[in-house]
């Protein structure tokens, strides 16, 4: 296992508007198993942050427990981080969000952390519309405890030791749409061309963004009878056309035939352009999204792409009518209005 990566980089490496290269967004060398899908997701997060010219010190990485939750150590070394107890990352994210809404919150969780022990927390973070990107690095297995079934494992799937899975899976995307998540996408760690724009869109979105990313566990869930192996996903993936992220003020370069693309404007004015494969599909209609997911599940297909987006939603801090300034920057005189105003209030009460 390697414990270092040479510091020298390609002299012609591309630089972003901040003058940084992709490598400046890296973290420590991963200690996950070689070939883990989670590492690909980390690389996609690095790529997305690089392309969006994000300043790493304005990012907070939050996680719970599990292989997935180790991942924040492997990207954005210069960011803030908080590793919570198992399944409790959504609470930490909610609190942090209220205290300082200026940071970009990247929550990294897994199927165990979000669909089992932390499912209650997960649902309430969605319901409250916490402004964050919530990654579920979904491998359908408990890798850290040697390969038991998780709650997202498909019914027909067997584990590495040949045992059958007896219980049906939880579909996190349908659940999130029903709970009111305003940006819901599913993707595959092995499809960077799709995943990077989806992450970029999620970062620019204001509100709860769920990315359910199927991320094969090479050690415990990449065998022939697995439905979350590299081969199975590649053979059953039904990608919803090409997704392009178009930053604010840039032209759309991909040309689709008239009517074959949908454009979604994000909060900051940047856009996501989606190639339509199904003409009836409208990603802003929750009912149709749920129908599509159910239909494809029935067919045994895994639908990937942007499944639902509501770009008019109000994030938690707006719902709660918090001040524009982050709470953690409010000074004494702003927090305590003074005895005169107190007296006035008291007068009003008498």
């Amino acid at each position: 296992m390697s414990y270092f990566k040479p510091i020298n980089k390609h002299p012609n490496l591309e630089k972003n508007k901040l003058g940084l290269t992709r490598r400046d967004y890296e973290g420590g060398v991963s200690t996950l198993c070689a070939g883990c899908g989670h590492d690909s997701i980390s690389a996609c997060i690095i790529e997305a942050c690089f392309r969006l010219n994000i300043e790493a010190y304005k990012v907070a990485k939050l996680s719970g427990i599990g292989c997935s939750s180790k991942a924040p150590a492997y990207f954005l070394n210069a960011s803030h981080g908080f590793n919570s107890v198992h399944g409790r990352m959504p609470s930490i994210a909610t609190g942090a969000n209220c205290a300082n809404e200026d940071l970009l919150y990247l929550g990294v969780s897994g199927d165990g952390d979000s669909a089992s022990i932390g499912i209650g927390q997960f649902i309430h973070a969605i319901r409250r519309q916490v402004n964050m990107v919530y990654f579920v690095e979904n491998n359908g297995t408990y890798g850290l405890t040697k390969g038991q079934f998780s709650a997202t494992n498909d019914l027909e799937s067997k584990n590495k030791y040949g045992e059958d899975n007896l219980f049906p899976p939880i579909d996190l995307t349908s659940m999130a749409i029903q709970m009111g998540a305003s940006y819901v996408a599913r993707s595959f760690s092995g499809d960077r061309d799709q995943l990077v724009p989806l992450i970029m869109g999620a970062i620019q979105h204001k509100g709860f963004a769920l990315l359910d990313i199927i991320s094969p566990c090479v050690t415990f869930n990449n065998h022939d009878s697995s439905t979350k192996s590299y081969d199975y996903i590649r053979n059953h993936n039904e990608a919803m056309g090409k997704t392009d992220f178009v930053p604010l003020g840039e032209e759309i370069k991909t040309n689709y035939d008239d009517g074959s693309s949908v454009e979604v404007k994000l909060h900051d004015g940047s856009r996501l352009s989606l190639e339509k494969t199904d003409h009836n599909f409208d990603p802003t209609d929750a009912g149709k999204s749920l129908e599509l997911i159910r239909e494809k599940n029935k067919e045994g297909k895994i639908i990937t792409g942007l499944l639902y987006v509501d770009n008019k939603c109000k994030p938690l801090t707006e719902i709660m009518d918090l001040p524009d300034k982050p709470l953690n920057t409010l000074e004494q005189d702003e927090l305590c209005p003074g005895s005169e105003i107190l007296e006035e209030i008291n007068k009003g009460l008498s």
């Binding site: 390697s2 980089k9 883990c36």
Partner: protein, 676 residues
């Protein structure tokens, strides 16, 4: 009327003729012609169309890249899967070894130094370049500009000075020398000149049982290594050790034996090798040359007379004319002989000088001014007819289309001097080879020698070193010697000279994992280390004091850590790959891309970092499960092996590429392998 475009008739048969585009004319000639084989015009036309298509594809393929680096991008087809069974593919990745004329396995000996296995490191060098101690001090180092580290970092690894380390720190290596058969094979070989080329031939042939006789005109062997390289660069004991090692292997050395007729000796031998160098220094025929001849010296002859201690002094003011390494040796020697005002003049601008950068630097460091753009006009004499100075004219260099022209400016300068040393080039000279014995000479009076076999037009006579194609350097002479020895062995065994042994190659999978990596992949990020020098004041007063002291052990080990181990090859097997991208993410220099195949030009553009260095190959895999291919740009790979270490399926493997260029020392090994 039928369409006769591109067609013409010859002997009643229709031929096709297509003009070659201007840019390709030097390569393909004015036009391309081919017969349709048809006498009937109607039948010829469809064939013509096919031929024209082929011709046009040919033009396309040769269309040189816009950078005009002279590299042909392989055409309009999708890229082919790289054939790694071709030993040259991975050989080329090891830039230093590929650039070395003798193809010394540089990374391997640097690793041996890092393990303090100096004897092994020396022997690895000795087998391939014969004179590690000499070359470690004097080599022209084609390996260093090629070194990958010069691209990934700043300056190349000090390969040459590490070679010297193997000499300086080795113990007695005699037990490792090849056995010389007591029973000879009955073939006698004559070698003329005891320079590096002949000595290499002798070393390669002696272990095979040949009886070898070396003729040397001077009283000691070594050739130009002895006569023209001053001892402050190459101490005599280093030279003697490595030269006499070969003589002691059983060569018969005849010193003071100038051969004045090839015809006289040719019949005494089964084959003759000519390694007489380029011994004639060029003269400068300008006014005053004859009158002042007493104080005008041909540089290489002058250096020789110093080497043999015939000359021990020179005037106070000395002008050295010339811009090559000989000029640098002359000026530095003059200062040590007691001259206090030495100047070097050269016609061209300094940037175009032929001297190696480091030799020029050393001369400048010793306080010698280099007057460039200065062209000699006349030797000036005083009233007594003795040399008193020289007249020069200043030149100006003009560059048009990359070609240089030196334009006289009319400005004249006069420099006082007591002696002048001419170092303006060397020629081959073969007054001793009879013109009627079957050796052809070309228009420049050089022998006609085959580039592969080193054989002349006389089947028994072989050439090598400077004697073959004019002045080069020691390492080329060694490379020629190896090839000539193979040819002589083939010739004496009645084997076709072009049936040459292949290089020995081996790819061996390497162990990896924390604390058990088979090589040190955490290379030093330090800058190139400087070699310590002797105190300048002392050195300038002592002709024999070596200026460069060489690395001490600590410096040597630190410098060895800078090597990137480019012989540790990344070998890819597409059938094992699950396209998880782990290698792409871990690669520190972004060399690996998974993408759809395309033409080389397009592929080079769409990699993670575009591959702009056309000298470096792309490693292309076969088709993967998703229809994509893996493409690795070899250019910036630091050979850290992390791609293989991160690969969950072993699709990437690090394999050490052992490439040993063919020479006769291998012959026994090849035979053993064949039997096995």
């Amino acid at each position: 009327m039928s369409d006769k475009k591109y067609l013409f008739k010859r002997n009643n048969v229709w031929w096709v003729k297509l003009a070659v585009p201007l840019s390709l004319r030097s390569e393909l000639g004015y036009d391309l012609r081919r017969t349709t084989g048809e006498k009937d015009l109607d039948k010829a036309i469809p064939i013509r169309d096919k031929i024209i298509e082929e011709f046009k594809t040919e033009f396309q393929i040769r269309k040189v890249n816009a950078d005009d680096k002279g590299i042909v991008l392989r055409g309009t087809e999708h890229m082919q899967k790289t054939d790694i069974s071709d030993p040259q593919y991975f050989h080329k990745v090891v830039d230093c070894q590929y650039a070395c004329p003798a193809h010394t396995n540089v990374p391997e000996y640097i690793r041996l130094i890092a393990q303090k296995k100096y004897d092994d490191a020396y022997m690895l060098n000795w087998e391939s370049n014969v004179f590690p101690g000499i070359l470690g001090r004097t080599c022209d180092r084609p390996c260093e500009p090629a070194c990958r580290r010069g691209r990934t970092h700043d300056k190349p690894v000090a390969i040459c000075r590490l070679k010297r380390v193997t000499y300086d720190y080795k113990n007695d290596i005699d037990p490792y020398l090849p056995d010389i058969p007591k029973v000879k094979n009955g073939k006698k070989i004559g070698l003329i000149g005891a320079g590096p080329a002949s000595l290499t031939v002798a070393r390669d042939l002696l272990p095979l049982g040949y009886e070898v006789t070396i003729f040397e005109k001077d009283n000691k062997p070594g050739g130009l290594m002895r006569t023209n390289i001053p001892s402050f660069r190459l101490p005599a004991e280093v030279l003697d050790e490595e030269v006499y090692r070969i003589i002691k292997m059983g060569a018969e050395l005849k010193t003071n034996s100038y051969i004045d007729s090839l015809e006289k000796v040719i019949d005494s031998f089964d084959a003759v090798f000519v390694g007489t160098g380029a011994p004639k220094g060029k003269d400068l025929e300008i006014p005053g040359r004859k009158e002042a001849s007493e104080n005008i010296h041909i540089g290489i002859d002058w250096l020789t007379s110093i080497a043999f201690e015939h000359t021990k002094s020179i005037g106070k003011k000395v002008i050295v004319i010339g811009g090559g390494n000989t000029a640098m040796d002359c000026c530095r020697t003059a200062i040590r002989l007691g001259a206090d005002d030495v100047k070097v003049t050269v016609r061209s601008p300094k940037s175009d000088m032929k001297a190696s950068d480091w030799e020029l630097e050393e001369a400048i460091d010793e306080g010698i001014p280099i007057l460039d753009n200065t062209s000699p006009k006349e030797f000036l004499l005083d009233d007594e007819g003795k040399l008193k100075g020289m007249k020069f004219e200043k030149m100006e260099a003009q560059y048009t289309d990359g070609k240089r022209k030196l334009i006289p400016t009319g400005e004249e300068i006069i420099i006082e001097c007591d002696d002048v040393l001419l170092a303006i080039g060397q020629d081959n000279a073969f007054p001793w080879i009879e013109k009627n014995i079957g050796i052809d000479f070309n228009e420049w009076d050089c022998p006609v020698v085959d580039k592969t076999t080193m054989q002349s037009s006389h089947p028994k006579v072989f050439f090598g070193g400077d004697a073959a194609w004019g002045p080069e350097n020691i390492i080329w002479a060694v490379a020629h010697g190896h090839q000539a020895a193979i040819s002589i062995d083939n010739f004496c065994s009645e084997v076709d000279l072009f049936d040459r042994p292949p290089p020995l190659t081996n790819l061996v999978s390497q162990k990896m994992g924390i604390h058990e990596w088979s090589y040190d992949n955490d290379v030093s990020q330090e800058a190139r280390l400087e070699v310590p020098h002797a105190d300048l004041k002392q050195a300038l007063n002592d002709l024999k004091m070596e200026v460069e002291l060489g690395f001490d052990e600590k410096l040597a080990l630190d410098e060895a850590q800078r090597c990137l181990n480019c012989d540790m090859q990344t070998v890819f097997q597409e059938k094992l790959c699950i396209e998880c991208d782990a290698c792409v993410d871990i690669c520190p220099t972004d060399c690996i891309t998974f993408t759809t195949n395309d033409t080389e030009e397009k592929v080079r553009e769409k990699l993670r970092v575009p591959a702009l260095n056309l000298d470096q190959d792309l490693y292309v895999s076969g088709k993967l499960a998703t229809g994509r291919v893996m493409i690795k740009d070899e250019d910036m790979c630091v050979h850290c092996g992390l791609c293989a270490e991160r690969c969950p399926t072993g699709a990437w493997d690090i394999q050490k590429n052992n490439y040993i260029e063919a020479h006769n020392l291998n012959k026994g090994r090849v035979k053993a392998k064949e039997v096995a």
